[in-house]
Structures are given as C-alpha cells and as structure tokens.
C-alpha cells in the first residue's frame, strides 16, 4: 500500500506535467482554425460528443503536402547533430582536463563550468551578438592583431548558430563526461601502460570506453534541446537558417493557426521520443552496470 502510494506520486507529476499538456496539444491538432477566442473549433463548449465528432487528421495530411515541414525537420536534425559533435569535441577535452586536475582544483573548475548559468540564457545569447557582429569584439580583435584585413561576417550565418548552441549547451556535455571520468579508477591506465600501451592507445582502449556512458548522456542532453531550439537561431542565425522551432513559431504567431502549429509540435515530440527512449535505455544499462 505504502509502496503504491510512493509510486503514485511521481506518476501523478508525470500525468499532470506531461500527459495532460500533451493531450491538450494533441486535441488542438485535430481541430480547425476559426476566427474566434480561442482561434480554433470545436472546443469543449460545443459539448464533448460534438467535439469528438468534429475531430480529424486534416492538419497532419496538410503537413505532408508541403515540403517545408520535412525540410525544416531534416535541417533541424542536421544542425542539432553537427552541433552535438562540435560540443563533444570541445567538451570532452575540458571534462578530461577537469578529471585529471589536482583534487583541490576540481570544485573550482566545476564552479567555473556552472557559473554562466547564473546569468539569464537570453542575455548570454545577446552577448554573442556583440561579440560576433561585423563591428563586434571578435572582429575588432582580429583586425587589431592583423590576422584579417576585412571584418568577417559571422553573425546571421549558420556558423553563429553553431557557436551559440555549443556555448549554451557545453556544460550539459562536460558534466556527465566529467562524472564518468572522475569515477574511473586511475590504476587501470597504469595497468594498460605496464602492459605496453602507449598513452594514446591507453586513452582509446581504456579511458574512452569507460566514459562512454557519460558521452552518450552528454550528447543526448545537447541534441534533444538543440533540435527544437528557437531562441539561438532567431537571434544569431540568418534568415536562411531553417529550423522547426521557427516554423512552429510562425504557424502559431503569424498564421494564427493553432491547430497546424499543434500538429507540428506533436510530430516534433514523436521525433524527439526516439533519442529520449535511447537515453532512458542507456541510463538503465548504466544503472545495472553500476550495480
């Protein structure tokens, strides 16, 4: 009985915070646009039976008719995947360095990784506008050093979006990898080296496989939010950066088409579920391995 009650609490949260909002969005995706408050029909005011009778999958059919939507999904997948790899390339050495640093430095290093979170995410992205613009700090610095003779155009390009995503999600990559590396037994490396491994092959044969759980967790923590990212591409990206988050915004705000916007959101969620399930499986495996 107590056990059941204990389990019921997290499931109640899940129901209230995830399933109910999803049901509302899903319901909206089955309705039609209308000039009214709220701007779709039918609603519960029409009665439950009437509402269910009026439901249809028209909006989902519509999504398949225009290549914009799948192009935007694909482009988001591509941007999220590239950004995840870049974040890994930057984050892994940092996590490795932290795990190898003297014991007494580690809390400070950890603190430095977390510190940016104390400032609003939006302000940090805005700061990048000041850094990357043609008259920005970066260009002024490069011009001053004489490395370039004309300012580079970085802001409003895909490069700026990648910089923004890598910067924003870097801590999510570093922390799980650091946790995995920190747990690793240092004597394993010594053993590998005693058995004739070079430092490099010891890293690839011992360190990296042991940190794989952290790498997977980090990659998913970056990939999933990057896929639906809206703020970074709209502030740093150019008009050519096609992402599903932006398409969603336009459906909702510009077209006032809440039903189609909801259908886009439902599909996005379905696409996201695959990596989320992978993440869960990985976590479970990890937990079992630890036991």
């Amino acid at each position: 009985m107590r056990r059941a009650a204990l389990i019921a609490v997290p499931y109640a949260w899940l129901l209230a915070l995830f399933l109910v909002p999803f049901a509302i969005v899903f319901k909206m995706s089955l309705s039609d646009i209308a000039i009214a408050i709220p701007p779709y029909t039918p609603t519960l005011k029409d009665g439950l039976a009437e509402m269910i009778r009026a439901f249809d999958f028209e909006n989902y059919v519509f999504l398949t008719e225009d290549d914009l939507y799948w192009k935007a999904y694909l482009s988001s997948l591509k941007i999220a995947a590239i950004a995840t790899v870049l974040t890994l390339l930057v984050g892994y050495p940092m996590a490795y360095g932290m795990a190898r640093a003297p014991e007494e430095w580690r809390p400070t290093l950890m603190m430095l990784v977390i510190l940016p979170f104390w400032t609003s995410f939006l302000i940090r992205v805005y700061a990048w506008i000041g850094i990357l613009s043609t008259e920005g700090f970066l260009n002024q610095f490069l011009l001053w050093t004489g490395l370039i003779s004309a300012p580079l155009t970085i802001l409003n390009t895909a490069a700026a979006v990648y910089i923004g995503i890598v910067y924003t999600y870097l801590p999510f990559m570093i922390l799980p990898i650091y946790a995995a590396l920190d747990r690793m037994d240092g004597s394993l490396i010594e053993a590998a080296e005693d058995l004739g491994c070079s430092r490099l092959s010891a890293f690839w044969l011992v360190t990296f496989p042991l940190s794989r759980g952290g790498v997977i967790a980090g990659c998913l923590l970056v990939f999933i939010p990057a896929l639906g990212e809206f703020v970074i591409p709209s502030l740093l990206g150019g008009s050519g950066t096609l992402m599903i988050g932006k398409v969603l915004f336009e459906e909702f705000f510009n077209n006032r088409d809440w039903p189609v916007a909801s259908a886009v959101a439902v599909i996005l969620l379905l696409i996201l579920i695959i990596p989320i399930v992978l993440f869960q499986l990985n976590q479970q495996k990890q937990a079992e391995a630890d036991r």
Partner: protein, 360 residues
C-alpha cells in the same frame, strides 16, 4: 513612480475604503512619454499598470487566448480589423469620451477601413514604412545619383548587388514588404491573389541573396552604428536611428524617405478588450490620451504622427515640420493603405515569406 503609487493609494484609502482602481495598458515598447503615465495617475487617482510588447503577433495571440487582463491594447489597423471580427473588443462609449472632438477627420476616414465608423478604437499614432538610408555609404557605393527615395534602391538587383557589401536589412514583416514589392511592380499594393503574390515573389526573390537580415528592430542600432547602409523600416524607428547617430557623433548620416512609388501607411489603434476588467477606467485613459496637450507630448517624445488634429498646435517644430513624420498634402496622396489578410491568404503569405527568407 512607485513612491507616487503608494502615495496615491494611501490617499485613496483615506478618502474611501474602496479598493484602489487600476487600469492596465498594453502598448508597443518605447511608444510613450512616461511622464504622461504619472500625470494620468495624478489626475485620476487610478493606478496605471503599463506593459509593453514588440509585435502584433504576440499581442494577437494573447488577445485570442482570451482573459488577457488588459483594459487597453494597441494593435495595428490590419490586425485590429480581424480581431474585431473575432469578437475581441467592445464598442467605445462616446458619452465617456468628450475629447473625441479633437480627432483628425483625415485619419479617421482612413482608419474606418479597419474599424467601420471608428466604433471600437481611436488612433494613437500612425506612420509609414519606407527607406532608412545611410547617405554617405550609399553614395559611396552607388554614386552621387543613388535613388535614395525610390523602391528601385532595394528592389533593383543591380543596386542591391552593390549595396550587399555595406549591408541591407528588411523588416521581417511580409505584410509590409509584399505591398512594397507590388507597388514597385506597378501592381495594386493591396493585392492578395495568387497572381499578385507571384509578382511580389518575382521581385523579392531577385534581391533576396543580397539581404543580410530580415528583422524588425535590429536595424535601428545597425543603422545608427553604421553596420548597415540601407534598411526597409518604420518611419519613427529610422528617425530614432538618425538621432542616435547624431548623438554618437560618429559621422553617420541617416535619412528617412517614403518611396516615391508609394509607401505603406499604417495606424496603431487603441481599443478596449471585450473582457476588460475596468472598461470605465479604460475610457478615462482614452479620454486622457485624446487631450490635445497629452497627445502632443506623446508625439514630441516618440517622433510619430498622431491622429489628433487639436494636438498639432502643441507639437514641436522637429515633429510637425518634418515631412518624414507629417507628410505634406502631395506626399500624403502618395501613401497607400492595405486591408487585413484572411486565414487562407495569410497562410499563402507566410509560406511565401518563408520561401523568400530561406529559399525553401
């Protein structure tokens, strides 16, 4: 202002035991002289809660979701008209608005296209969409006879190819750019048919590669700093950029021109939501704003023209004598207005805009 609010409510408490009356206003950002807000509180003893937004779409979404809690909102005419259809607003009560007599019939005649008989709204500010030009840079690139007052500046690919070097921004607003493209092509700027959209597409696709960014507010800073040399923008915003450049004394000279082929004229209208908590207070606010001196103070501050004829005698010369703000008779004839987009047309429009911006 907080101290003042406290003082006012203390006064209200001693006078009557009734709870402090509130009016909640939702207006565009940087769109009023804040001293007016204090003045309203002092005159009426009503607490004024003033919030801001920066896009019609955000406002509309709030309105359509219902129960926004605001007593006054300020949509643009084209948005207002379909929100009236959706039942978002309540009719004004002229008996509570003696200052209605101050309003300018020239503007009222035009806003009636969005709000028949002006039954639901009053005009707050109006302006035009045109060309913000960094004169020095553009002449450097295109030569002395650069067409800085013509849509050819932004829609002729030959010009745009050269201007791309120094940077061009377009408003990220299809409802502003499509009419301009149609005006350039010699079509009816209010066209919404498939053929009209195809014409506009042709014009815009030809210059799209040379547009650095589609954005509706960044151009103010970008123009003022000299980061870009041309922006398609709103009159008052470009004038703001001009003043910022003057203040910075950075040698950047900005000029605003409504295009000679015709420029879009728009109207920001104050209206009362149907579910406003305090419609009586809202009427008091509207009447306060329509006072000639108050309206003049607002225009003198934001550099936009208003729809209040009586206010004109209190306007500073910088505002009333600037034809970029108050166009003369001939220029006024050159301005056009557009109607709102229905749901289906709107979808084609947004889709076209995505295509223009992203190439997909």
């Amino acid at each position: 202002m907080h101290a003042l609010k406290l003082g006012m409510s203390a006064l209200a408490l001693t006078a009557t035991v009734a709870t402090a009356e509130e009016v909640r206003v939702y207006n565009w950002s940087d769109y009023i002289d804040e001293e007016l807000l204090t003045k309203f509180e002092e005159e009426t003893g009503i607490d004024l809660i003033y919030d801001v937004f920066d896009s019609n779409e955000v406002l509309e979404t709030k309105m359509l979701a219902g129960s926004s809690g605001y007593d006054i909102v300020v949509p643009t005419g084209t948005f207002l008209s379909r929100q009236i259809q959706a039942g978002v607003f309540q009719k004004l009560d002229p008996a509570q608005l003696p200052n209605l007599e101050n309003m300018w019939d020239v503007i009222e005649a035009r806003t009636a296209a969005y709000d028949p008989d002006n039954a639901y709204s009053i005009n707050y500010m109006w302006g035009t969409t045109g060309l913000g030009v960094n004169v020095g840079k553009v002449k450097e690139v295109l030569g002395e006879d650069a067409p800085i007052d013509s849509l050819a500046l932004i829609f002729d690919p030959a010009n745009m190819e050269k201007l791309a070097e120094c940077g061009v921004h377009f408003l990220d607003a299809p409802t502003e750019l499509i009419p301009a493209a149609l005006a350039y092509a010699g079509e009816d700027p209010d066209g919404k048919s498939k053929e009209a959209l195809a014409k506009a597409e042709e014009v815009l696709m030809a210059v799209r590669p040379y547009v650095q960014k589609f954005h509706s507010s960044e151009y103010i800073n970008a123009l003022a700093n000299g980061d870009i040399c041309v922006a398609v923008g709103w009159s008052g915003d470009v004038l703001q950029a001009r003043d910022r450049a003057d203040e910075a004394e950075n040698g950047v000279e900005i000029v605003y021109n409504a295009a000679k082929e015709g420029a879009l004229m728009w109207f920001d209208q104050m209206a009362i939501p149907a579910d406003a908590p305090n419609p009586e207070g809202a009427h008091k606010f509207l009447n306060f704003i329509m006072d000639a001196q108050n309206m003049a103070a607002a225009s003198n501050y934001v550099y936009y023209a208003n729809g209040n004829l009586a206010s004109q005698e209190y306007l500073i010369e910088d505002v009333i004598d600037d034809t970029a703000i108050y166009p003369d008779e001939a220029a006024l004839d050159n301005l056009f207005t557009v109607t709102s987009w229905g749901a289906k047309d709107q979808r084609s429009l947004t889709r076209l805009w995505t295509k223009i911006k992203s190439g997909t």
